[in-house]
């Protein structure tokens, strides 16, 4: 039984990060927005990778081209969108300090390499986060404002890869994430700061005390 068929695609568009940690949610939110606005030809898969490490391995090593959205600490001004390609990708994914999953995805790429995966292309559309230490928070206005730019860069690559993006005229039938995690309820139903501590970093908590 060939099980890889279920994972196979020629282009994988992956959003990674933890959407519970403010700008850490950039990868998943960017993917969500791409999905809302665009359709692709068969063989192109959009995947909400979340913080899943090895679970993503089969998807990764069964694709020929990989496009990743992820928040990356490039040491640049917050909101800066930066594109990294191919062999440079793993190093950049390990650059972040506060991620819950950085080793996770870096390792996925390393293990895929060890197992003989030779992609034609990897592109990382990264953004420099502004705030990570805001548990239960959404993207900052700074990062949210750069989503169109990130999407435009992604679409440029996807067109070059012949992924056939076409603007949607009606909303997609299925969401990338779950209804409850959709950006609007996620933001509007958030408990107040008085009800729920939002700080993530011991240093900030220390400063507040």
């Amino acid at each position: 039984m060939n099980q890889d068929a279920d994972y196979a695609c020629d282009t994988l568009i992956l959003g990674i990060g933890n959407l519970l940690w403010a700008d850490e949610g950039y990868g998943v939110r960017a993917l969500e927005r791409l999905h809302q606005g665009w359709r692709f030809r068969p063989g192109v898969r959009l995947l909400d990778g979340g913080t899943q490490g090895l679970y993503l391995l089969p998807y990764v090593e069964n694709c020929r081209r990989l496009l990743i959205f992820d928040a990356v600490d490039y040491g640049l001004p917050p909101g800066t969108v930066k594109v990294v390609r191919d062999g440079d990708v793993p190093a950049f994914m390990g650059a972040r300090k506060m991620s819950l999953h950085q080793t996770g995805f870096q390792e996925v790429l390393a293990v895929a390499g060890l197992r003989g995966w030779q992609p034609e292309a990897i592109v990382l559309i990264g953004v420099q986060p502004e705030v990570l230490e805001d548990y239960g928070g959404s993207l900052t206005a700074t990062v949210k404002a750069r989503l169109p730019e990130a999407l435009a860069l992604a679409l440029e690559h996807l067109r070059a890869w012949d992924a056939g993006p076409e603007p949607r005229t009606t909303p997609p039938a299925e969401r990338i994430t779950l209804d409850a995690l959709d950006l609007t309820p996620y933001e509007t139903q958030r408990p107040s700061a008085a009800q729920a501590c939002r700080l993530g970093d011991g240093r900030f908590l220390g400063g507040a005390a």
Partner: protein, 600 residues
Amino acid sequence: MAAYETQGFKLDNSGKRVVVDPVTRIEGHMRVEVNLDANNVIRNAVSTGTMWRGLEVILKGRDPRDAWAFTERICGVCTGTHALTSVRAVEDALAIKIPENANSIRNIMQLTLQAHDHLVHFYHLHALDWVDVVSALKADPKATSALAQSISPWPNSSPGYFRDVQNRLKKFVESGQLGPFMNGYWGNPAYKLPPEANLMAVTHYLEALDFQKDIVKIHTIYGGKNPHPNWLVGGVPCAINVHDTGAVGAVNMERLNLVSYIIDRTIEFIDQVYIPDLLAIASFYKGWTHGGGLSSKSVLSYGDIPDKANDYSAANLMLPRGAIINGDLTRVHEVDLRDPTQVQEFVDHSWFKYEGGNSVPGKGLHPWDGETVPHYELGKNAKGSKTNIQQIDEGGKYSWIKAPRWKGHAMEVGPLARYIIGYVQKKPEFKEPVDMVLKKLDLPLPALFSTLGRTAARGLEASWAAHKMRYFQDKLMANLKAGDLSTANIEKWEPSTWPAETKGVGFTEAPRGALGHWVRIKEGRIDNYQCVVPTTWNGSPRDSKGQIGAFEASLMNTPVAKADQPLEILRTLHSFDPCLACSTHVMAPDGAELTKVRVR
């Protein structure tokens, strides 16, 4: 701290302090500090969760039917387990009964997670504490083949096969891109395997990676979506269609047969590769008897895998339920998660405060009445600053993990706890495999209470889980054939059918141990939500009586060959499969004044 005695351990923090930070290679943030005596033996151990989480508080006011979707995002390791625990808690609160098919499918998903998680933990996260990858390059492929064939009928065992893997490994190591192998202390004297066993283990690591992707397909089939499966309060969100007509997107016979095929392969791989590897590796470490900690004293399991739907009594749970305390292996105590005097959380040494501040030392709260209010302060003997901790003071507050206690006792949870309880209850499914392992390795029963025992119990449980997947798949098929296609009960879906105020508890045995979610619902919304996760139990800090947690206890009296390469510490902590993303409520401090070891 002066030297003192607790739970049978003599703690003494006068020796040289070693800091290991962080400890895990995956999700989460954890730091350990130990004191070594003149002979490099650990005489004091302090385990700290260095990250605030607070999932509980971001759920306040949300729809309880959505809670699982949030809990699934806590971390990337046991997503499904949190989701299952969450829907069970809400069903308990609202007295919702789920159909038999939903129970079978949930069990299959949970058992799939157990088998997958244990397998990945052993090969991907823990094996490198025992297996020297670089030494595998020196192995003779012919001798490796002979070794493999002597322990298992697994067909991938020719000299050419091992030579090929060795060549790939060589190329990989030479490329300088070590990836998953980056943090090994290659060449450390604590590694005992001959090169051939190392090569065999590395080869099987690669096969396990190949194989794990098949196992998780079960989650895609029954959960609809991967890698974040769908769950549903009232059942499972997957329609079943055994006649290949009708609902589009329903699980059909082809998919059901695929699940069945994957289950057979899972059983085969675990029994023919994982278990023989485990026994082979263990046979070289028989003399390393450290790491038992609380396992011979206090262990706890909530139980899981209900045979019949909606019956959460101990008799109906296939994974054992109960508590052992004070090292009394003749008695298993009953566990009641609703009893306000049994499970309680303490914050005397945690960076939280309870209503009324810290004026009441030793105040414990049952999770239904739990509070999650951060209060970050260092003990007076801590070194460094709040923003750059050099050395923790375990006499004060020192962790973002609360200290849960069962009737006042610190407990170990996880596969070893489950197997000890099952063993004491004389359940053949748990007792016989343990006796088999002890006999094969020619070891007495007390050898079970160790790091190796923990690692062995996990392997045995992976096998148990795989065989139980078969049981529930057969049960599901029989029920479907009898004409029952129901997978969800939506009678109480609408909040208008709910009481104005209610509370519930959901529990599972996650791969790492006992997991409970306690929820209070008011006017259709979440009023309070508390998770007590396995690593909260195991990674617990001290309490007001000075009792140490399972991680801390497990490190006591362990000799460390090289203080700057704390392989022994990592080996024992990794044997718990720690997952800190969900147990700690961020940042590891920088700086290196003491003997400080950074682990990637």
